[in-house]
Homo-oligomer: 454 residues x 2
């Protein structure tokens, strides 16, 4: 039996474990899931003969080293900041390792040691990052192999609510970490390339500079820019590209309404409000509006942000019940972002029967033989239920498939890496298709970037 | 002769030195001005027999210690970050010290040692901070001594252009450090108290939440909130106050136009633009607007910020020549804030004959015998020329007067301090009046805070 150690059994491990368990007999796998709390893992594993759970505290060095030493390969599904200790032990005991997280500088620093010991440290192999890398590189390389020169690449991903569960005015629910949604886009101006020119959008304008998108059978979406669209420019081999833009997908209208919170200052996570515990939702809103002895919080907000009385964004605010003077915030010394998150969780938490949806969309513009072309490529994955979500499927399956491919010697190149080589993405994308994770491509006229038409 | 060492001879030392030189014979003073560059100091001193300049590099420990050891009292007009080494030497050699800067935590940490050696470390005794502390505390204490309970305190200061030199559409020129103007308000939400409620304004709303102000004989002004209006709440003894607001004064209309730069992201100082050296002013503006194959930068800006064609803010932008495609930015890897500063300096640099103006305005609301009252108090100081500016006068004179008062034993209480005790502010405010630095008070009806009327 080949022994796979999975550290961490959070939301995104359901499909990961299912895949490995389903293959365990034919591939001779034994899976050990280690976590401080093993309840979730126990449910997912059931009575499967080729798997076990162990209580594993990642900060307990003896237990951690023992578990890693005993494995043939390690999957770390821990939060990104906790991978590094696992990685160092993997170097120590000569084990390859797989994560779905962005490569930290500490992880990158292990590259030489990993190569020296012929170990594969595969990272960023979830959905975003992960499937975005693989699906983009497959088309980019195909265009280039065919003699084309890539001049435009736009790439968008969104974790959304499935159409059948989409029943609020925001067309949004928390299908993943709510905190990341509340603070999305903060930390500096968004930077990208449009027709050869660097463009910058400050945070407070980010949700007013959206683009639109049509996905066949799923309707219209909108996109706001990611912080750094240029992060993978060189890695993808796009140094001479003219337009490079990456973004996050929401349903149309989300961003304009969300911008009200940004504009008021409610998404700020940099200071705490002293008396937040005793505030009502209404008091919270009022903290961002001038005092008035007579005017209502509602009128002050409408006036400050110039919201017409028949504007649909107003209904979105009402739906969240943010003007309620009876509902207590109930959080001690909380930041505005923490309070807003709590208010949103009242309305945007999934119902038991709700299903999620992952949407990914790429645009590839290229020149060949003096003509311009464009390929649009999109993927939509729907969740089955709240255990087997689209998020868990698109994050967990690439991790699981990559792990088995490494064990079986199909992925051979050692080092700290992300899935951008043909060796890695070709077999993984092919197998993902058998699980319904596939891209639809179509040729469209190349229009270049156009702020109003795109 | 009593020896006064003045370290640093920047813009704000003209009146400081004039005061000390004028008193040098009667008060038996000898003034030594130390700086790396002594040209400015030499011009200000001329051939005065009771003064000298020395070349002093503050980072040269031997020279610094020698100069401080040789003095009876030290005035540091250095940038705030450089006071601490002077202060430590003053502790070492037993000299009192005066600065116009905010107390740093390192400076505050010397309090016990200063007290043990019976030394006075007087700080924040320029104009803002300085005259604001003294003039506010004088009225606050008078109200309290008279049995009143202070319920509102608002305090505003502005360094502006004098009416006779006010000849641009922004009614503003750089009379002080341009960089501080460009990045003003950044670093976190503005916080203040209105009628017992904490209020917060994010940076990108700061210049749209202004208040108005009328100063007799000088017309209308507007105010935007300082970062932390509550900094001196306890120090001033205002823990139970209902409204506490501090702000910066501009002419009406400045903030609305300035907000265009904030909104676009042009005041951001947190990242650099790679190709800034080769940009024109027009390219710089365009970096914050979407690409278009046809639309002009002007139309894109109007559209993005919804600026009507007959809106006066547009003329203000035109006056700054920001759409000029010929004018090069010419700064290597500059931040947006640095580039904007350069553009503004083309238009807002003082002409040789221009004069500056300092405006300060306090509102004191209080209750007494069941009734409410309000006192408004304001000071306007005009500069004489570009050496003897209103800024140099209001910063330098309090420093100089305090220094002499310490030498003469009129200010006795040792320790690291700011000028908020009667012992300090009473004689200084009285003497400032003889230089035309005086407050006009009037009683007005107490209206409380009202967002539209205030």
């Amino acid at each position: 039996m080949r022994k796979i150690l999975v550290i961490g059994s959070g939301k995104s491990t359901s499909y990961l474990l299912k895949y490995l368990l389903d293959k365990s007999a034919s591939e001779k796998l034994f899976i050990t899931v280690g976590d401080i709390h093993t309840d979730t893992a126990k449910k997912l594993i059931g009575n499967h003969e080729n798997a076990e759970t162990i209580i594993l505290d990642i900060f307990n060095e003896i237990d951690r080293k023992k578990a890693i030493k005993n494995a043939d390969i390690v999957i770390s599904m821990l939060p990104v900041s906790l991978h590094i200790q696992v990685a160092k032990d993997c170097i120590l005991f000569g084990k390859s390792m797989v994560t779905a997280s962005y490569i930290s500088s500490e992880m990158q620093a292990l590259d030489a040691e990993a190569k020296a010991r012929n170990l594969i440290f595969m990272n960023e192999i979830g959905v975003d990052p992960g499937i975005d890398h693989m699906s983009a590189m497959q088309v980019l390389n195909r265009i280039r192999d065919d003699g084309g020169k890539v001049i435009l690449f736009e790439s968008f991903t969104g974790g959304l609510i499935a159409p059948e569960s989409d029943n609020n005015l925001w067309n949004y629910k928390f299908t993943w970490n709510p905190r990341n949604v509340v603070i999305a886009g903060q930390g500096g101006a968004a930077k990208f390339l449009q027709e050869g020119t660097y463009k910058y959008i400050p945070y407070h304008r980010l949700f007013r500079r959206t683009e639109f998108l049509e996905v066949e059978a799923f309707g219209q979406f909108e996109i706001y820019a990611n912080r750094d669209s240029l992060k993978y420019q060189s890695v993808y081999g796009l140094d001479s590209i003219r337009t490079l833009y990456r973004g996050t997908i929401r349903r149309v209208g989300f961003s304009r309404a969300w911008n009200i919170f940004v504009n008021l200052g409610m998404t700020d996570d940099s200071y705490t409000i002293d008396d937040s515990e005793n505030m009502s939702y209404r008091d919270f809103v009022n903290a961002f509006l001038p005092y008035s002895p007579s005017d209502s919080v509602e009128l002050k907000l409408r006036y400050q942000l110039k919201i017409d009385q028949d504007d649909i964004v107003w209904e979105k605010l009402i739906e969240l019940d943010i003007f309620n003077a009876q509902k207590p915030v109930g959080l001690k010394k909380a930041t505005p972002a923490q309070i807003l998150q709590k208010i949103l969780m009242d309305s945007w938490t999934l119902d038991k029967t709700d299903k999620d949806m992952i949407v990914m969309y790429h645009k590839f513009g290229y020149e060949k033989d003096g003509k311009t072309y464009q390929i649009d490529s999109n993927m939509v994955v729907l969740g089955d239920d709240q255990t087997y979500t689209a998020m868990a499927k698109t994050v967990g399956l690439p991790v699981a498939i990559a792990t088995l491919a490494i064990l079986n010697g199909k992925i051979k190149t050692p080092g700290v890496q992300i899935p951008i080589t043909k060796e890695v993405y070709t077999p993984i994308l092919k197998e993902l298709e058998t699980f319904g994770i596939q891209f639809k491509e179509k040729e469209v006229p190349y229009l270049g970037y156009n702020s109003l038409n795109n």
